[in-house]
């Protein structure tokens, strides 16, 4: 697995927060990622939901923002000292509780992804939109959502590592 440089949590968070403000000042758009996944859905379904409101034109800023994210990851890996290693490892801790067979591990990650996608749409946002941008705007629903994200994460991981750890 690629080892990337990691700053201290405070420094990393400060940089992320400043980026969020920068995006507001330049574009007027609030930071957010999960809505953008729907842009890709617009290309594979004729369902009206994915062609109205935010999705009238799926070729919008959100689409390009999401395309930029993997490139940012690549840049981060390229500027880290180690080699880039393409790997299905999910880190020491998750590897210790996940099934070793790739298909089974993939299934677990896919189920996790479905919960992320479905839950984020229900909640109207993900940690980027609610916890970073939303809490910064002092928007009450975003505080509630952030508490819910953490509660869900704690429940899942505690159970996961108690049962399979």
């Amino acid at each position: 697995m690629t080892e990337v440089i990691v700053w201290s949590g405070w420094a990393g968070g400060l940089a992320v927060g400043i980026y969020m403000l920068f995006q507001f000042i330049v574009s007027g758009k609030a930071l957010g990622v999960s809505t953008g996944y729907g842009n890709f859905c617009s290309y594979v379904t004729k369902a009206r939901y994915f062609h109205v409101g935010d999705y009238v034109d799926p070729n919008n800023w959100r689409l390009w923002f999401l395309i930029g994210l993997p490139l940012g990851g690549l840049l981060a890996a390229l500027t880290s000292p180690g080699e880039i290693v393409a790997s299905f490892s999910v880190g020491e801790l998750y590897d210790s509780v996940f099934p070793a067979a790739l298909w089974a591990k993939g299934l677990v990650l896919t189920v996790g992804g479905i919960m992320i996608g479905y839950g984020a749409r229900m909640a109207g946002g993900c940690p980027s939109g609610h916890s970073i941008a939303g809490m910064s705007m002092l928007n009450p629903p975003s505080f509630i959502a952030s508490v819910g994200f953490f509660a869900g994460g704690i429940i899942m991981v505690q159970v996961l590592f108690r049962v399979f750890g």
Partner: protein, 148 residues
């Protein structure tokens, strides 16, 4: 076209998420096991500097460079499914060790497990949208359902 600048914005945000440790699987497990609060610090620091910055911009009625109108800081609306949705999203967050943004960044770092996670997020988004679509058809109108 203004939207293409977001390709660069995505690169910057993705790079910073990586440097913040948000693309490191272990930090997710350690956060929810209360062993290492790296990602808690990231969110707290980001929201902290964000609150100060936005409070100042609100006071100054700051206009954005691209839209030349006062920036809208009203945020996302409340909705009845907010709490169950947040819990489900949180459980997926803990299970996959990633969120919608960081899964994409991980892929760029060569963490191939993110392929499954990203596929799952797309499927979850699609299922939710198709369910909403049925409601949309039942109501026959309401273009505002696609909000947020």
């Amino acid at each position: 076209m203004k939207k293409y600048i977001f390709l660069i914005f995505g690169v910057i945000f993705g790079f910073l998420l990586s440097r913040a440790g948000a693309t490191t699987y272990d930090f997710y497990a350690q956060l929810f096991l209360f062993q290492d609060l790296q990602l808690m610090k990231v969110i707290a620091a980001a929201a902290g500097v964000g609150m100060v910055g936005i409070a100042i911009m609100k006071k100054l009625k700051t206009r954005s460079l691209m839209e030349n109108s006062t920036i809208d800081f009203s945020g996302k609306p409340n909705k009845p499914e907010l709490i169950p949705g947040a819990l489900i999203m949180g459980m997926g967050w803990g299970l996959a060790g990633a969120c919608p943004g960081t899964a994409l960044v991980m892929l760029g770092e060569g963490k191939l497990g993110a392929l499954f996670t990203i596929f799952g997020v797309l499927v979850g988004t699609l299922i939710h949208g198709l369910k909403q679509n049925r409601q949309l058809l039942r109501e026959g109108t309401a273009t505002d359902l696609a909000g947020e």
